[in-house]
Assembly symmetry: C2
Homo-oligomer: 361 residues x 2
């Protein structure tokens, strides 16, 4: 079985590493030669909206998936006309547009902050009158890792704000922590959930996660599963699916969805009996899913910008190294560490200790 | 860091899968296009004794290793003249010749069965007079998976036996079970041992293994570690190293060594914190080794000849599938299953149950 993957970043790379033991082969499509997944399969370089590239990509594949959500929807749809494409292009389309995403959540009864689509400064000012401050102005498209967001706290912030592209104003959510749930549903309808992760960001980029989220109330876990299931049902979804959620005094509020494997689930490679990458592949092939439980704590640390002393990292018996084969660049995700804890371990302390040591190597 | 691997079979494939997360890249050298490791790195097809192929292979590599022991020693030595080659070619040379292997074990005080090198029928008859029957006549070179062996039980077997190539006669060892120990030593001198595996063969091919070997007496484990250490010391060894051993009423008797990762250690991919493949790579790079303990039982089942129903396999929550990307052929190793047990589980029963089900799918 040959799988075509649109995008050849680290997620594609980890999909490939998970897929070979299942007997799969891969073709990766990306914009540049030097892509992290390229050593792990056939390579295709070309623009995603180039129809000739699409022909070459599709030829001889059994199935198509993608590893990032800014794949042009028309490309996914054109491929879907001739090949199975999972997750469904409709989910891709919704996830690309924050306003569609909010509308989708609202329609499915998944709690949103207050939100209003805004296309001009006038509309923004109207929206602020309705929602109030603080609020967050976000571009509807192409935002990731905190890019394309402006926090508006004061009238001066509002006066300085610009609306140059279709945007959305969201009421500021006062939350105690950010969580994410990764669900996997197969084309045969089987659904598994990984334990929720607690996520910590810096400059909008995920820095570290802990799973299971420490001290999470069972009803919140059930609520997150319910929300994820509503989206899976709505789209006739197959594959891995993520919702980022804010935990607040009044329950969970959706932040955003990702129709793919997710950074906050990278700990599953060693931390779960079957990783999100293997389960995503099993799911889109309609194969039985593997177990996803993790009773002991696991941790994840992203390696950003420059690599720490790798010998020190490898000398830590509870740490697993994952490099993406990328050149250093400020803020770039170069790899991650999985930390496998023992029952009852205080993973937050262990990650704090590791982060302190990594910064000093 | 780019590693050159001589041989691109399943062991090379699993080395590649273990190496990418460490940031390594690979070049594989094999005789035929359709080799299991080829999707996972640069490919080189050519005879191992072709000096022009050797030039192309060596160019731009940082380090060379090999995944099978019938690499021509001259090739390994020629490469070692310009690049680090691990394990050391001297260990390779000894492992290729059963008589040298026995002599090496004897010199290091590692128990052998009685053995005599024989180059003719006359010498064989002399040897039988010394060693007695039953005995096993083995070719000195190119034996694997039980090939090149004749069991001599009666005078009629002896009369029918032929010695067409340099051979060795070994006294028949009456053993209660076959064990194997995998050691890993780094170029920095750090040494780790995996728990001994109990191995079961059929038609000379490994069928299944359990690790840790159930009920193994601690002094036998210590003895196996001591024997492995003597060989590692003798060769200034780095990399993974295996000795197959017979457990007998009077202790352990060496069967053979392998200067590489070993089929009886494939369970380490999920069964150990760090697999034999990752630790082999860390070892030859001089990086810190990872932990190798496995307190709970783990099992390994080889998939030979034809594949079972893979959906059934994937539906077993304690089973991990590893396919090698090979075409079916009678007796061919197409993949393996790792079975991860829980503390106190009777792994022998679980493997028996799985084997029965696999045969009926």
């Amino acid at each position: 079985v040959k799988i075509g993957v649109i995008g050849a970043g680290q997620l594609g790379r980890m999909l490939g590493l998970a897929g070979y033991p299942l007997g799969l082969t891969f073709r990766f499509w990306d914009l540049t030669q030097d892509s992290p997944a390229f050593p792990l399969g056939e390579n295709m370089v070309g623009a995603y909206d180039d129809s000739e590239a699409l022909e070459r990509f599709a030829s001889g594949l059994d199935l198509v998936t993608y590893e990032f959500e800014n794949v042009p929807v028309s490309t996914a749809e054109n491929l879907a006309a001739r090949l199975p494409v999972w997750p469904p292009p409709a989910a891709l389309a919704v996830s690309q547009d924050r306003l569609s995403e909010r509308t989708c959540f609202a329609k499915l009864g998944i709690p949103n902050p207050p939100y209003i689509g805004v296309n001009s400064k006038d509309e923004l000012e109207d929206a602020v009158r309705t929602i109030g401050l603080p609020a967050v102005l976000k571009t509807r498209r192409l935002g990731y890792d905190g890019k394309g967001q402006q926090l508006l706290t004061t009238a001066a912030d509002l006066a300085a704000a610009t609306v140059s592209v279709p945007s959305i104003l969201e009421g500021f959510v006062s939350f105690s922590r950010e969580l994410s749930i990764i669900a996997v549903r197969s084309t045969a309808g089987e659904t598994h959930f990984y334990p929720l992760a607690e996520n910590h960001h810096g400059d909008g980029i995920l820095r570290w996660s802990i799973a299971p989220a420490p001290g999470l109330r069972l009803e919140l876990e059930a609520m997150a599963r319910d929300y994820a299931t509503r989206v899976l049902d709505a789209f006739g979804y197959a594959g891995a699916f993520t919702i980022e959620l804010f935990e607040t005094g009044s329950g969970l509020i959706a932040n955003e969805m990702a129709p793919r494997v997710h950074n906050s689930g990278h700990w599953t490679i060693e931390g779960s009996p079957v990783s999100q990458f293997e389960n995503h592949l099993r799911a889109i092939l309609g194969w039985p899913l593997g177990p996803t439980e993790r009773p002991e704590p696991a941790g994840l640390i992203n390696l950003l910008g420059t690599l720490p002393d790798l010998r020190w990292v490898l000398s830590q018996p509870d740490v697993h190294l994952h490099l993406y084969g990328k050149q250093s660049r400020p803020g770039r995700k170069l790899g991650h560490l999985t930390v496998t804890g023992h029952p009852g371990e205080d993973m937050k302390s262990r990650l704090a200790e590791l982060l302190a040591s990594l910064n000093s190597t």
